[in-house]
Point group: C2
Chain length 715, copies 2
């Protein structure tokens, strides 16, 4: 927290590049600071001298007598380096560079950034920006932005000033404001994780919102720092994010099979999920969520009761429930009985509870039904949809009643421990009774979908937080103590022979070093040895060529199944080596491996690849058609513990196949999850591994078999 304290709670601010020109940032920012009644001292720095907005100016920051905590810099790139040096000399701890023309414009700008960062790092100065729209902090009434921001329960960290404007219009219309607000621009120095970390400790923030285009990473550690900071924060308070650039996913070309599937968008999405962040799609949804988290009681379950006047809106709400992972179950007999005592016989009461025109006769049915629903132990939340808020339009005498009922409903929601959200077709007009409700803990939406989606976000956060806690508290897997020595020896040998591709026997040795149970495996160097090894194994065996030059063994005729005698093994050896040399005449052939033929099972893939933003990642998918046609894969940034590994398996579309489709027994999902877990710890530990591909893995009713394994190191 302390690192950004001078940024968000400075005792004094210097605006460097203050201006009298009403079309310049240096003017707008000065105006913002004064008009918003910043609590500390403001020093205006202007080379032109004279007064600005009635305040004296200083020629440079060194001319200021008092201490300066924060410098806001609106100076063109070519003049900026000496200014940064002066800030360091003055002992300034934080700076915001709002000027543009840096890294975002090309190499020259990047070079200035590099030099600026060098000076700052040396001098203990942290910099926000450049190319940003400034900062707001309610704690000290500081509006160092050009946008008209107000205090409130949200904090917002964003990568685009325009989105700041966009969101703020909408926030104002909802009476929502900010505790901390920061545009982070080029993230030259301060990055998302720095802000997230600060806001974790900011008690005035009830909900943190992020608008992301991408992380700036110099190493995978930057991506991991973000996850770590976001996780910690999400355990304390809801974090919601827009991340744009979804469609750019998949553009990344990758040589290998799993790599090509691991588009960075999928990884980013997984990283957000792993961080406990609620991902939304549009500025409006972001604020819907923010409003709900600011106002509502936390959700503790997904069983929603829908209370409506108007069948159509009730049905629409019910339809939406499913898509936002809510349930609108038939209400209990006890509750239906209570409702039928309140409502007329023609009113549907199963859920939705449809008042079906009765409020015109008795407005209090709303309140009485809400009471019943909030007190039903099988109801976790209530969504009210339809016409409430517009009865006054039908008749003047309804106006007062509507307000009385609103007051009573608000009082009920206040003492209840369940979230309530509302839709009204009159919401856009914001009639008095809806304004009352909305200002007192029940967000009112103008679309049924938004109301249900928002209730979904409340529930989703609750579930996500529980899952995150479970994941964080789960033990790491127990791995063999000598694993690192063993793998180092293998990798050294591989590298010593000028390779980065491990052959299958080597890959199997690495997996074994991590304690993964693999079938017996023997390498035969000649036909006679093949026969001997066969005798040792007996039964039916698989024989495969082992060569770093033959990665796709099947294509090269390098695999033979069902070998069932020593003679067959001898013949197979010759044939496999022959095929290998036909495929690639100068192939370096290490030999032929023999493993027992294992029964097939459900074909899975477990793999790992390296993401430039987040480093090692792990993946799980169903093999064959599923992975190739449906891209049915789940990803996580490694390492992951068992709760997440189980979730990875559950979240693929074809998971029913593992649960025993077509009358077959369910697969050993725990064994699959354990393998995913070990692989994730392995790649997290062995950072020189670029790629792991266990494909196929046969999932059995008990246990599993890794039928092929490939590992590639970073060059």
């Amino acid at each position: 927290m302390s690192e950004l304290k001078t940024l968000f709670r400075p005792r004094s601010v210097a605006l460097i590049g203050a201006s009298r020109d009403t079309k310049k940032y240096g003017y707008w920012t000065a105006k913002s600071l004064f008009e918003n009644k910043y609590k500390g001292d403001v020093y205006l720095i202007s080379r032109s001298g004279g007064e600005i907005l009635g305040h004296e100016t200083y020629p440079d920051i060194l001319a200021v007598k008092g201490d300066v905590d924060l410098a806001i810099i609106a100076i063109a790139p070519k003049y900026i380096l000496p200014v940064i040096e002066q800030c360091v000399e003055k002992g300034v701890k934080s700076a915001i560079v709002v000027s543009t023309g840096f890294g975002e414009t090309g190499a020259e700008g990047k070079e200035i950034e590099r030099k600026m960062l060098e000076i700052a790092r040396k001098g203990g100065l942290r910099i926000q920006g450049p190319n940003c729209m400034g900062t707001y902090s309610a704690a000290v009434n500081m509006n160092a932005s050009i946008i008209d921001l107000a205090p409130g329960p949200m904090s917002l960290v964003l990568q685009s000033g325009n989105f700041g404007i966009d969101l703020n219009f909408n926030a104002k219309a909802r009476n929502l404001g900010y505790s901390c607000w920061a545009t982070i621009g080029n993230q030259m120095d301060l990055r998302f994780h720095d802000f997230v970390k600060y806001i974790e400790e900011d008690d005035s923030t009830k909900v943190l919102l992020l608008y992301m285009e991408g992380l700036r990473v110099e190493s995978e550690e930057d991506g991991r720092k973000f996850i770590e900071a976001a996780r910690k924060t999400a355990l304390k308070k809801p974090v919601a994010a827009i991340k744009i650039g979804r469609s750019a996913a998949g553009a990344r070309a990758a040589a290998s099979h799993t790599g090509s599937l691991a588009g960075s968008e999928k990884i980013f999405d997984a990283a957000l999920r792993q961080s406990g962040i609620i991902r939304v799609d549009s500025p409006n949804e972001l604020l819907d969520v923010a409003e709900a988290f600011s106002k509502c009681k936390p959700a503790h379950g997904k069983r929603i009761a829908i209370l409506t006047d108007g069948g159509g809106h009730g049905v629409m709400a019910t339809d939406s429930a499913e898509s936002f992972k809510l349930e609108a179950p038939v209400l209990s007999d006890a509750t239906q009985e209570k409702l039928s005592a309140i409502l007329m016989p023609h009113c549907p009461i199963k859920n939705p509870v449809d008042l079906a025109g009765t409020p015109e006769a008795d407005m209090w049915v709303f309140d009485r039904c809400l009471d019943v629903l909030l007190n039903d132990p099988d109801v976790d939340g209530v969504v009210i949809v339809g016409l409430y808020g517009g009865y006054a339009d039908l008749s003047e005498e309804f106006r007062e009643k509507e307000m009385d009922v609103a007051k009573s409903m608000v009082a009920r929601v206040r003492v209840s421990d369940k979230p309530v959200v509302m839709h009204s077709i009159y919401a856009p007009q914001r009639p008095e009774c809806l304004a009352y409700i909305s200002d007192r803990g029940v967000p009112v939406f103008d679309s049924v979908k938004a109301a249900m989606r928002t209730m979904g976000a409340l529930v989703n956060y609750d579930e996500g937080r529980k899952a995150l806690l479970e994941e964080v508290e789960a033990p790491a897997p127990t791995l063999p103590a000598d694993r690192k020595e063993k793998t180092s020896a293998i990798f050294d040998a591989v590298r010593a022979s000028g390779r980065i591709n491990l052959v299958e026997t080597e890959a199997r040795d690495v997996l074994s070093a991590y304690g993964l149970p693999l079938a017996e495996c023997h390498l035969a160097l000649n036909a006679n040895e093949a026969a001997e090894k066969y005798e040792a194994l007996g039964g039916k065996v698989v024989m495969k060529i082992v060569s770093p030059d033959i990665l796709h063994k099947t294509d090269a005729g390098g695999v033979m199944l069902n070998i069932d005698s020593a003679q067959a093994a001898r013949d197979a050896f010759e044939r496999l080596v022959d095929n290998g040399l036909k495929y690639k005449s100068d192939a370096d052939i290490f030999g032929v491996m023999l493993t027992p033929m294992l029964p097939g099972g459900v074909e899975c893939i477990i793999g790992a690849s390296y993401d430039t933003t987040f480093g090692p990642t792990v993946m799980f998918g169903l093999g064959g058609i599923f992975v190739e046609i449906l891209k049915d894969i789940s990803f996580r940034v490694a390492p992951v513990n068992m709760p997440s590994c189980r979730q990875m398996i559950r979240e693929i579309k074809g998971h029913k196949l593992l649960e025993g489709a077509r009358g077959s027994a369910p697969c050993d999902i725990e064994a699959l999850a354990e393998t995913v877990c070990v692989i994730s710890y392995m790649v997290n530990e062995l950072r020189e591994v670029a790629e792991v591909d266990l494909n196929p893995v046969f999932a059995w009713e008990k246990g599993l078999a890794v039928a092929d394994a490939r590992i590639v190191l970073h060059p």
Copy 2:
């Protein structure tokens, strides 16, 4: 058209149940009629007598001297039958019953509906409602509703008055109004298709909107009439619909709301698609689409150029393109060259074209870039997103410029033949320049998603219309002339034996009668015959038990593969019959069938079932895991021609498998489509068929094989 002419263009109206009570429909409707300056004569019918709103009243409709075209009836159910009789006596041709308490409340109300309909049918009176909120018709200034409706290019037919209110708020905010507007209530007499048919001919309607909970059907013909009417209309003008009750829970809720039969959601969705209707999800989307169709030039392709000031909004638009089936391709070199001559070097110009802050220096860049994009032959439409509309907020001197540029852009759009839609973060404030643009042919949205989704709807309608035309104009398949005699004979025999399930040999005969190519098939009645039949076939054969009591042959051990000798055939016969009798000791065993063993292929399912709303339907899916786990199936109401059959195959998720995944040759998609087509014609013709199940069908590189066939008749 003529049938509903007196409803939408009456020369005179009688309001039966007119009232002085300001809380009654009979008052509100009278007020609406007078205030909206209805062009014809209004007769107020009130048993209480006296004047209402300064107009004389009549004790009953028979007391009116002049002709009455339309009666609006606001009378309680128990008094209504004599009133309907009087209407008939008076020669009234159309009536709107706005009162409630009919079929929607239970058996008693249904009975009144039945009697009312009987009187009306006999007397040549068509009735809208009951349980509706009336009608509006701009052609004669008739507002026979209680909602403040205005004239405009939309027509709206809806099943819920509340949605009428909901939509109208939103429509007013957009300056959009109606040509025809009707709430159809219980659809006792007049149904969706009647209104759709009328509006097809209404030239003032530019776009038709439907809000549907379900069709009221007495027979499948009602469902089919809707498709027919909607298709005709959709070929002339866009039709968009909300259909609620998508989810199972929603369908349950819908059933209790209007009592309309929800039917199968998948079939309803297919029917809407087959009708050329654009399906949307919310009232807002419905109006987005309506606004675009009212204002924009029609789309003729999906290649969209995105023009933005602000990178973030540009990326967000690009992200959305994909999800709304649009393309945002890299612009041509020629266009990029033209753009780079206009813009500064730091502006991205590939698509999105990002003005990146240059409008502050020169607002005309918007107009110049729009010109370039509209004139690019490889661009089918333009979406402008970002900050336009708010530059005046930055500086007063921008205000006039912004308006000048708006005027020029509007002029360009007017002479272009391409659709343009816009997003602005300033849209909610509706600044002057955006109001100018929006009122002159470019809808302006407050969310990027809405702008892209709406452009998507324009493109989607164009593509849907083309596909519909192709489908409608495609020839029906040529079917054998004697097919009906042959199938009648088979069905008669089946029914004569007290069955509705056809055994496989019978089902195969039916398919053969429709000209579907099937492998040779022989029925053996005893073991010797099995040996003889084997000799006739030779090679390897499949033998299956034939018994109406054994539907799941495999479960009963009733299938044997790879029979390769006469002796094996003899043995197999005994074994199959034995197994059959073990499975069901009193099974009626017809014999054992022999067909040649055919090579496997991609496993597909082709089937047909009967929908209560639309009658016979046809389906296509990939077999095995795909259908069982992923429910990867496409449906259509039968019959369908080849263009739709091909589309059915293309739209399943696993279609890549048919196109030759994993290095295998593509399947014969034409042969699959032809089979689907024939089955669809077959079930459409043979209405006594309840169900057809060809499962599996093996798709080959050339042709296909129906490996099992099942047909079930209606009881």
